[in-house]
Amino acid sequence: MAEITLAQALNKAIDEAMAEDAGVFCLGEDVSAKQGGGVFKITSGLTEKYGAHRVRATPISETAIVGAAVGAALAGQRPIAEIMLMNFVGVCMDQIVNHAAKLRFMSGGQTNVPLVIRTTTGVGVGFGGQHSDMLEAWFAHVAGIHVVTPSNAADARGLMRAAIDCNDPVIFIENILCYGLKAEDPGPGYRVPLGKAAVARVGSDISLITYGRTVIDALAVADELAKEGISVEVIDLRTIAPYDEATVLASVRKTGLAITLHEAVRPFGTGAELAANIQEKCWDSLKGPVRRIGGTFSPVPFATVLEQAWIPNKGQIIGQIKAALGKG
């Protein structure tokens, strides 16, 4: 099998879903052929195949984009709405939180919202305070939404298919720095079930629980520490909410130590929820407190030197692991 990038993987997954189901359509700013198939080209080539009605370039109207996607989903279609950058969800939170997430429950199951909201973000590209945030915790805190993010191209293809299949809303977070990552193409029809974590690396001394771009850092650190005889187990959640509790707890019960790692700021982040749940349910297995690593509690800065100081780095991860193991 050939290698594909994460960006190509997303494109292929959407393409094959559109080919199989006439109800799948894309909408968002600049997504059609006239604008080059999206600012990151994820929807390129789709207008030519499926026509303008199924690849709708929209006005800059996030509330109408998500609201329209909710309406179309209620009517039985499977819209894939693109919110160009994750910070822009602030413009349309009402449609996501009060409508997409709640309509199944509030209707007593009479309606549902099979909607994928694709969005991009990431620290490390110099976009500054309003184009970089990881805001997954906002959505993980709302009942009724799946929150998904891939860390590699194969998972991207499989998670996107599963997200489009899902009969409930999915926030699909893409990291700008990961679009170029390559992996062996898992091929057509490949699916990674939502709510299923991956043990990205098996280890025995400590569990490092993470997702998205920081999985790459976690794996690099695990490689490095292996040379010192420290065995790190890396859990890639893949679905952030509702997450695969069984895999997380099994890993922590095995290693007896856990660190959560994410790019989003640390206070009130998803790491806090993971840590609390681990401590409630694995107390007897724990050899020490669950540690949390996350971004600095400030807006994402512009200057490269500040941005690099803001983002959790490998040195920090190694330091926390060694401290947890009493090797600091």
Partner: protein
């Protein structure tokens, strides 16, 4: 004489009185303390809702607001399901999980009742988009108040609907108050319908207390939408004859305004139109008596119905019921 035929007039009258008798019954139950829930009275707006629903087919989609009793009743939600939902019973349309502000009944096209002012317009745009995509021939009507015209979603939805020429009817029930604030104190333009021009959309202003104005205007908008001629913004002037919600103070309404709305009350006007068309007093009274009997039975059944069990909290959050609340 009206251009509306007798059969359609009777249909509109019946729907109007269903809305009115439901409203009267709800207020009476609230006054007697037999129920204690949030209820947004529709007294004064019955005709607009009824005439608009009479212009749609059963399959057409409707998106309405917390003040949506008129659309819900007039579109044909069975009273026993509607009352049970309003009373929080498991036999309700939404198993008691939606309530008065979130009534849903897709079987009759009531797709969303939103409790957030203005949020229905973008959703209606999407329902219209689905119909345009799959060619099902349905029209979506979204009802909202004058207050909703000043939130961003209104603007975004109007522009998008016209851009794609979607089969949507935007029905603004201008009842002259956004919550407790009078129209002139919250809106800079003289009307809402005049804004349609800003989107290149057709805008129509009608007297919502006159069946001969409101029904033909909505029917034409529906017909155009179905024919692929795009959306229309219909503004129906009417009065909210009560406070924002049941029990809310409305002493802020000026005396002249109160007198004006008594004068313009759509119900005596509609009754006069019916009599003009040779419907007898007895016939019209019989329609109301039948409606009252149906409502009384529905209320009795709803009062006696079971409450939802706690297991409902884990159901309908996602497609797969939650095993454990995290």
């Amino acid at each position: 004489m009206s251009k509306i035929d007798r059969a359609k007039l009777l249909d509109i009258y019946t729907r109007t009185m269903k809305v009115n008798r439901t409203d009267e019954k709800f207020r009476s139950l609230l006054m007697q303390g037999k129920v204690a829930v949030m209820y947004y009275c529709v007294r004064g707006q019955e005709l607009v809702s009824a005439a608009a629903m009479a212009a749609l087919t059963d399959d057409d989609y409707v998106v309405c607001t917390y003040r949506g009793q008129g659309e819900q009743t007039a579109k044909g939600i069975p009273p026993e399901l509607w009352w049970a939902e309003c009373l929080g019973k498991v036999t309700g349309t939404c198993k008691g999980k939606g309530g008065t502000m979130h009534i849903t009944y897709p079987e009759k096209g009531i797709m969303v009742t939103t409790g957030v002012v203005g949020s229905g317009l973008p959703i209606a745009t999407g329902l219209g988009m689905a119909s345009q995509n799959n060619g099902d021939g349905k029209v979506t009507l979204v009802s909202f108040g004058d207050g909703a015209a000043n939130i961003g979603g209104f603007h975004e939805a109007m522009n998008m609907a016209q851009l794609y020429k979607l089969p949507v009817v935007f029905l603004c029930q201008n009842n002259r108050y956004g919550e407790h604030t009078a129209f002139a104190d919250h809106t800079s333009s003289e009307s809402i319908s005049s804004r349609a021009a800003g989107y290149g959309m057709r805008g129509v202003l009608v007297d919502g207390n006159d069946v001969n104005q409101v029904y033909p205007a909505v029917q034409e908008a529906v017909d155009r939408a179905r024919a692929g001629e795009g959306p229309t913004l219909v503004e129906a002037m009417c009065y909210r004859m009560m406070g924002h919600f049941f029990g809310a103070d409305f002493s802020y309404m000026p005396k002249e305004h109160l007198a004006e709305m008594q004068r313009e009350d759509p119900l005596p006007k509609l009754r006069a139109v019916m009599l003009d068309h040779q419907f007898s007093e007895e016939e019209l009274d019989a329609v109301v008596a039948d409606i009252d009997a149906e409502i009384d039975a529905a209320v009795a059944a709803a009062l006696a119905a079971e409450l939802p069990g706690p297991e409902e909290l884990a159901i309908d959050v996602f497609e797969t019921p939650l095993v454990e609340a995290h």
